[in-house]
């Protein structure tokens, strides 16, 4: 339980901390430090287990289906990072108390800081790689929010955006890499992944996975060529820079390399990618740091350089190098965090960070100056300080690399060169800021020492620098051993922590670096002149320009695709369907399956022939809308006949009644519309459309032919066998609709109802004036309701209602049912509207069709929910048999109530749609007000 607690306490603290913002900065700082202190206390009991190389696992199920579990793991390496995060976090909380001004939003600041702390602990304590990924992204997000904490500064917002784009992009690559690894191993649990190192390295996807994971690590840890975001992240408040961008978050990439070291390292690819990236970053960072006039800019580039150093150590692939890397992680975090805090104090007290203006501060703040100088000496690698020890190990390791021929000189050379630069920029930090004449034009003058407590975090860290530097084995020895053993998977090489290892080559390199660096600093003006010859690249401008180019490209692309033309969209949609389908269809060819073709009889052939002709004729004559409609109705009727011919009586009846309603609907619409379509397209456009249409038609023919001639198995045996005993009906189609798949039907009638209500809503306040004639000069007939039609239609109504009742009742056993009966009733009513007009009919059929729809849905739902009363699941049906005269013996099932719901919904929906359209013309709109009143 204690590990999830450690991770989630800071998040809880983030929720609680803003509540203390009212109490002032001290209150909130105390509140914010509680989670970190409790977390440290929770970790303490585990130390004895971890020191012996043990591992603590706390695991809970989360989404086992995708391999995501809520599992946390504590070993030496994660303990080391957790301690860095918590201890430095505590110091930062104290420091920020004095750094922030009272009027600033301290609640937000501490909440974000604690969120970050929790996310970072999540990364280092997660045992599941997917879980780690979630925390990884959370650190990117919290970092974004913290960099842009001063939201009014444009530079801060831009820097934050750049950091998010780079680290977020790397996060995506990392996710892909993790998914590949999980796929290879079959698990995302760290223990499984670490144990499967050989499997991963032998897999053909190993290079891809490694590249993706390293992309994630390199972007996060600001490795060349992704290093540019880190200096721009320095727009953040200094506590954030000290915490996220030197001590913890930028080490997440390093942590990842250490964590997956047993699983991924040890190959040539690892060696070249990691060590050369590290070498480039080491040199570039150190070189640029020398020329930065901004105090934090210098420190940021120095951080880049040191991150490169650690990466290079991991890339070397030897066990001793990995130990040195872990050691330098500790040392760098300590001295760099203290330097950032010192830089923050200087900024705070002088109002500027420009080293050309802040000079000679020794006189004004000797205490801070002493602390900063010790820390900077550690950064330079001066003996008796912690930076010296790990740098010495680094020099030693750089000599051990077995590169071929002359290349063997490269690592020590790079190492020494970077050492020279490190000494030079450290010397600049010390000499420029604290000596070198008098301050120039400071915004705050005279500067003085900061509040007493603001220096305490710096003092603690500087003390640690000295302790580790003088008593390495006593101070960090056990922790380093536990962390190194966890990194290397249990085996730790022989190494010796001592202040001096005798007079050897690495020491010579240190001397060279030290005196070379001092010489370089003394000759700095020449270097500055040399550097000034090159135009400085403003990464921010380049980045912003790149982003706007991408946005512009996306806009152009969108504008081309999305030009507001429905015709264009339809064409693109159809073309992409054809493009996807064409290759498999070509392969299929004209395929006739095993069942072969069956002979055709003359009536069927004629029917199909007429259907095909009418279909093409509809398309060909579409500009004469009325003819097209007549031809369409022929097609629809032939389709109904086709259903009847091929053993689907229910479908035939449904199609027939729907066909009638559809044609009436289209006629009604056509009444308002132009009866003629103008010719707007060019012949070439029509040829193109015909080609698309033919491609679609041929494709469908080929697929249908292949399917029809293949034997098949169906799940319908179940329905055929259980229809009578289980559903109480012999019409299997109807039983499927109202019983087996009743829930689907409920959904479908709901859609029907929504469509009808949508139609009503769309037309509610719309008026359309129909054209005075049919478009060819003929006026409409004056006799709107012909006598003959009226006289025939009226007696039809009771007859039709009787038929529909009969069809409805027998539906369970013979073709029929709620859908068909509903449509027949609807057709009979529509006939009355057509024959006798809106007002006459409405007076005699005084229903509001909305209510009919509602009633129908209610019946269907009640029939379904009724089974709950008897302890059965939704829509369980029961049945019994009743005998009525004439109708005969029929079965009454609870499904009949359901079917009644279907029946009512179909009537209501159909009539609501048609009546809404019929009411459109102003003529009927005026009259229908009577009905509405």
């Amino acid at each position: 339980m204690s590990l999830p607690l450690v991770v989630f306490l800071p998040f809880l603290g983030a929720l609680a901390a803003p509540l203390f913002a009212q109490g002032g900065r001290t209150a909130i700082a105390i509140a914010a430090s509680v989670p970190a202190i409790v977390a440290l206390a929770a970790l303490y009991p585990h130390w004895s287990t971890l020191a012996e190389g043990g591992v603590i696992l706390h695991s809970y199920q989360w989404l086992p289906a995708v391999g995501l579990s809520f599992s946390f793991r504590l070993d030496g390496l994660s303990l080391l990072f957790a301690l860095l995060i918590l201890v430095i976090g505590l110091l930062i909380i104290l420091y920020a108390r004095y750094y922030l001004k009272a009027k600033e939003n301290v609640g937000k600041f501490y909440a974000l800081l604690l969120c970050f702390m929790g996310s970072m602990l999540g990364i280092v304590l997660s045992s599941n790689l997917l879980l780690m990924m979630i925390f990884w992204e959370l650190t990117s997000l919290t970092s974004f929010l913290l960099i842009s904490f001063w939201t009014h500064k444009q530079d801060a917002r831009r820097g934050a955006r750049m950091a998010l784009a780079v680290t977020g992009g790397g996060g995506l690559a990392l996710l892909a890499g993790i998914l590949i690894i999980g796929n290879i191993v079959g698990s995302f649990e760290l223990d499984d992944v670490l144990a499967a190192g050989d499997l991963i390295k032998a897999h053909s996807l190993y290079p891809v996975a490694l590249t993706l994971v390293l992309l994630g690590a390199f972007t996060k840890s600001a490795q060349f060529p992704f290093h540019f975001w880190l200096p721009h992240a320095m727009q953040a408040p200094t506590p954030v820079s000290a915490y996220l961008h030197s001590a913890t978050m930028v080490k997440a990439g390093i942590f990842l390399m250490a964590r997956l070291y047993p699983a991924l390292a040890g190959t040539e690819q690892w060696f070249y990618m990691v060590s050369f990236t590290g070498m480039a970053t080491l040199l570039i960072g150190a070189y640029v740091a020398m020329f930065k006039h901004d105090l934090k800019g210098l420190l940021a580039h120095s951080t880049v350089s040191h991150l490169g150093l650690i990466t290079l150590l991991f890339g070397m692939g030897t066990q001793l190098a990995a130990v040195a890397a872990v050691f330098h992680v500790i040392n760098h975090a300590i001295f760099k965090a203290s330097l950032f805090m010192a830089a923050g104090i200087i900024d705070h007290e002088t109002g500027t960070r420009d080293m050309r203006r802040i000079n000679g501060l020794w006189r004004y703040m000797p205490h801070t100056a002493t602390l900063a100088m010790v820390a900077a000496s550690s950064m330079a690698g001066v003996p008796l300080l912690n930076g010296f020890l790990s740098k010495e190990m680094f020099f030693a390791e750089s000599l051990q690399l077995n590169l071929p021929g002359i290349w063997a000189w490269l690592p020590p050379l790079v190492a020494t060169l970077a050492g020279i630069f490190a000494v030079a920029y450290s010397a600049r930090f010390i000499h420029d800021v604290f000596f070198n004449g008098k301050p120039v034009d400071l915004p705050i003058y005279p500067p003085h020492e900061p509040p007493r407590y603001m220096k305490i975090p710096v003092e603690i860290l500087v003390f640690a620098c000295i302790m580790v530097g003088v008593f390495p084995a006593l101070s960090v020895g056990p922790l380093l051993y536990a962390a190194a053993s966890a990194t290397l998977g249990g085996t730790v090489p022989e190494y010796h922590l001592a202040i001096l290892h005798g007079f050897n080559l690495p020491l010579m390199m240190s001397f060279a670096a030290f005196f070379g660096g001092l010489l370089m600093y003394s000759q700095r003006q020449r270097f500055f002149d040399f550097h000034a010859r090159f135009r400085e690249i403003d990464e921010k401008a380049v980045f912003e320009a790149a982003i706007s180019r991408v946005v512009a490209l996306a806009n152009r692309f969108t504008a081309r695709i999305e030009n507001g033309s429905l015709q264009r969209y339809t064409m693109l949609l159809l073309l992409s369907v054809i493009a996807v389908a064409i290759a498999p269809l070509m392969q299929l060819g004209i395929f006739v399956g095993e069942s072969g073709l069956s002979p055709i009889d003359w009536p069927t052939l004629v029917g199909i022939g007429v259907l095909i002709i009418c279909a093409f004729a509809t398309a060909a004559l579409h500009r004469e809308r009325f003819y097209a409609l007549v031809l369409l109705s022929v097609v629809g009727l032939l389709v109904a006949l086709g259903f009847a011919r091929f053993s689907a009586p229910d479908l035939a009846m449904t199609q027939l009644s729907v066909e009638v309603v559809t044609i009436v609907l289209l006629m009604l619409a056509l009444y308002y519309m132009p009866s003629w379509t103008p010719l707007e397209t060019t012949p070439s456009r029509r040829v193109r459309d015909i080609a698309i249409a033919l491609a679609a038609g041929v494709g469908m023919t080929v697929v249908t032919l292949a399917m029809l001639t293949q034997p098949f198995t169906s799940i319908s045996e179940f329905f055929l066998e259980n229809s009578k005993p289980g559903g109480g009906g012999t019409n299997v189609v109807n039983v499927i609709l109202v019983d087996f798949r009743g829930f689907d039907t409920l959904g479908e009638i709901t859609v029907l109802a929504i469509a009808a209500l949508g139609i009503y809503a769309m037309l509610k306040n719309t008026a359309l004036t129909p054209p005075p004639g049919d478009g060819q000069g003929h006026a409409w007939t004056r006799d709107a309701y012909p006598l003959m039609l009226r006289q025939i239609a009226r007696p039809m109504l009771p007859l039709a209602l009787m038929v529909s009742a009969y069809i409805f009742l027998r539906g369970h056993n013979l073709p029929g049912g709620g859908f068909i009966a509903g449509l027949i009733t609807a057709v009979a009513l529509i006939l009355q509207y057509i024959a006798s007009g809106m007002i006459w009919t409405q007076d005699r059929v005084p229903f509001r069709y909305h209510n009919v729809i509602g009633l129908g849905l209610l019946f269907a739902t009640i029939a379904g929910a009724g089974s709950y009363a008897f302890g059965y699941p939704f829509l369980t049906s029961t049945f019994d048999y009743i005998s009525w005269p004439v109708v005969g013996k029929f079965e009454v099932a609870s499904a009949l109530v359901f079917d009644l719901g279907v029946y009512l919904t179909v009537i209501g929906a159909t009539l609501l749609a048609l009546v809404s359209i019929g009411r459109l013309s102003p003529h009927s709109a005026i009259k229908s007000k009577k009905e509405g009143a």
Partner: protein
């Protein structure tokens, strides 16, 4: 028989697709209707072409597959609802624009879509 049936589906699809690509609403609605005939027949034919095998228990020796029939039955009704909805959209378009072009505007007086807006944050 299968070939003729497949050709019928092909003809319905081709005519439907051609009409879908027209510029006025009414032909598009007609095209949608034709296309839904084709799709319904296609779905139905996944139960194969059976003569005299209506799925009424006890009425015949061998039954056709009732499942595609049940699917198509609801598809026909839903298809009608969709046609009605599209028809009404077309009518509403006509009422609002006094024109029945599918893009809701007269094709000759097409306004330029406002693209190329700068999105980068300032």
């Amino acid at each position: 028989m299968e070939l003729a049936f497949a050709l019928a589906i092909g003809a319905l699809t081709a005519s439907g697709v051609y009409l879908l690509l027209r510029a006025r609403t009414f032909p598009v609605v007609v095209g949608l209707t034709l296309l839904s005939y084709g799709v319904n027949l296609f779905l139905f034919s996944s139960g194969r072409l059976v003569t005299g095998g209506q799925p009424i228990i006890g009425s015949t020796a061998g039954y056709s597959d009732p499942l595609p029939q049940a699917l198509v039955l609801t598809a026909i009704v839903i298809g009608f609802a969709m046609t009605a909805f599209v028809v009404v959209l077309a009518l509403r378009n006509l009422a609002d624009h006094e024109d029945d072009h599918v893009d809701g505007r007269q094709s000759s007086t097409a306004p330029k879509p406002n693209a190329d807006k700068e999105v980068s944050g300032k």
